[in-house]
């Protein structure tokens, strides 16, 4: 597991990380969420001993990372896909990490296969796409079969197939009892893979809890309903004290009632329903609400001025 305690990192007058404390526990995927520039990567570099904290501590399985010999057996990490020498082959890149951690050559072939890079081992990394480099980074993290894994924005540059692959991989690593720590600035991505979320903004902890805990009591979800009898349905829903807003295409945006209940109600009154979409934006909204005070810069208006 990873333990971070009162961690701070200052660059001159600016604080990248400010008094951060959290745990990453085994057996679940812990999402590390925050807007760009929130201090996620800095925190991860400090956990790996690449950067020294100004104060506070970070430990992996009870020890500072710099004190671990053969760390590939303790924690696998993917920081960013540029951590490679382009002139070297994927095989030799992985072989270096394996050899320096006392891991046999056979394992290199195994992780190449797990990462979907079978047959590409002899190719120069410089010719790899961003997605392939991400896969190589994941392969490197898995070399020592470690109980703790840490990935910084692993879906960057992956195609849809790769995104599905990484989601399944993260889930399966956690189900094997490993502690999996994944950063992202995309809330919906975390909603799909993480069990637990650590949300930071401007280097400070904003929230630490399960997804259910974080969304409870915050911006509620809503349901999009299309019906040829929209007027009747709207009247019916209003009678049930449910919030209704018309969408531009004639659909109804229903808040305060679950999709299944909307469908049951319509069926009970013989109303046809053509579309029923639960809008799972609740987590996204919760995230926006959580981090709105911590954004360094806010997006302006959504309207793009037309050219005259």
């Amino acid at each position: 597991m990873i333990k971070v305690r009162a961690l701070s990192k200052r660059y001159g007058p600016t604080s990248a990380v400010d008094g951060l404390s959290f745990d990453v526990l085994p057996g679940r995927v812990t999402g590390f969420l925050g807007p760009n520039g929130a201090g996620k990567s800095t925190t991860m570099r400090i956990i790996l001993g690449l950067d020294a904290p100004t104060s506070g501590s970070a430990t992996v399985n009870g020890r500072a990372y710099q004190d671990i010999r053969r760390p590939a057996h303790e924690m696998g990490a993917l920081l960013d896909p540029s951590m490679v020498y382009g002139g070297r082959s994927a095989y030799h890149h992985l072989l270096y990490i394996a050899q320096s951690n006392g891991i046999g050559r056979r394992r290199v072939g195994e992780v190449l296969e797990v990462a979907g890079l079978t047959g590409l081992g002899r190719r120069r990394i410089g010719g790899f796409s961003l997605g392939m480099k991400q896969r190589l980074g994941v392969a490197a993290a898995l070399l020592g079969d470690p109980p703790v894994l840490m990935f910084d924005e692993p879906i960057n540059g992956l195609d849809p197939d790769g995104v599905r692959w990484i989601r399944r991989l993260l889930r399966s690593l956690a189900s094997q009892g490993r502690a999996v720590f994944v950063s992202s600035h995309i809330m919906s991505e975390m909603a799909m893979t993480a069990d637990h979320l650590i949300v930071i903004g401007r280097g400070r902890l904003i929230a630490d809890g399960s997804i259910a805990e974080l969304t409870r009591g915050r911006a509620a979800g809503h349901v999009r309903v299309q019906s040829p009898q929209a007027v009747q349905l709207a009247a019916l829903l209003t009678a049930h004290h449910v919030g209704i807003q018309p969408a531009a295409d004639g659909a109804l945006i229903v808040t305060g009632m679950a999709a299944a209940d909307v469908a049951d109600l319509a069926a009970a009154h013989g109303l046809a329903v053509h579309e029923l979409t639960p809008q799972d934006a609740s987590l996204e909204e919760a995230f926006m609400e959580l981090t709105k005070d911590s954004l360094d810069y806010q997006a302006g208006t959504d309207d793009v001025p037309a050219q005259h």
């Binding site: 010999r69 951590m83 020498y85 009892g177």
Partner: protein
């Protein structure tokens, strides 16, 4: 945390690793990186070509005006050859570190082996051993081709100081490669390290020079790398050189030793 939550299936137990096993692992890793980077081979082949050709050309040149030279048949194959060859191995040493800083590979390296000084030691051993082995081989070839071009002034390895000069030429190439490695770790950029390298191996000696104009300049010259390299490859001491071969050897070795010591200090403190 309860014991049942700790994963038991994966990872090797954190068994203590013996110092020797550990050194072997790190060395094997650094060797893999060195041999799988194209600049290594290019720099070695370039060094071999330029050293052998420069040695032969210089010998051919002095054989035609033997009486006007220092008439040292042991020094002749190496004096110009080393001046050029040191650039090749210097680049090799510099790139062994700066290519990692430039590409971001350094973060992979320090993630795989967070003990940074152990990485530096393993890198220095790998680079040092490779350049020493290659350097000795190249030096022998340079000696034999050079002596052949000296014609009737040519000597064999049995000539006093000849074997020592050949061995020392290879050793000198190693010291320059290690100096490059240290400067690479200190500067982190290829350009910066190469400029410092050029200052130490070339420019310093042209500023102070062997001509004993002011006495302090003459004294300074004796401690410069090229002057001591020159002593190592000469059969006897010439103008401006330290009298003892052993002293020259130690001065040459001091350059990479200082650079690597500073590098090890800086590597420990810097954020990567």
């Amino acid at each position: 945390m309860s014991a049942t939550m700790t994963p038991q299936v994966h990872g090797a137990p954190a068994a203590p690793v013996g110092a020797l096993t550990r050194a072997r692992d790190l060395l094997a890793g650094e060797w893999t990186k060195l041999r799988s980077a194209r600049p290594t081979l290019v720099a070695l082949l370039g060094t071999a070509a330029i050293m052998i050709i420069a040695g032969a050309w210089y010998c051919y040149h002095v054989a035609g005006q033997w009486a006007q030279t220092d008439r040292d048949p042991v020094r002749a194959p190496f004096v110009l050859a080393l001046l050029f060859a040191q650039l090749g191995v210097g680049v090799l040493g510099v790139l062994a570190f700066t290519s990692e800083f430039g590409s971001g590979m350094i973060r992979t390296t320090f993630t795989a082996v967070p003990q940074r000084r152990a990485v530096l030691a393993a890198k220095a051993t790998a680079v040092g051993a490779l350049v020493l082995a290659a350097g000795e081989a190249i030096s022998f070839i340079t000696f034999f081709t050079g002596e052949a071009f000296l014609g009737r002034y040519g000597v064999t390895l049995a000539h006093p100081g000849a074997l020592r000069a050949v061995a020392a030429a290879g050793f000198y190439l190693m010291t320059v490669a290690l100096l490059g490695l240290g400067l690479g770790a200190i500067c982190r950029s290829t350009a910066g390290a190469l400029v410092s390298m050029f200052l130490v191996t070339f420019l310093a000696s042209s500023v102070f020079g062997p001509v004993p104009q002011p006495p302090w300049s003459y004294r300074a010259y004796r401690y410069l790398l090229p002057a001591n390299a020159d002593r190592l490859i000469s059969s006897q001491a010439h103008n401006g050189q330290v009298p003892s071969v052993l002293a020259a050897l130690l001065i040459c070795a001091a350059y990479p030793a200082v650079a690597l010591t500073v590098a090890s200090f800086l590597l420990r403190r810097r954020d990567m």
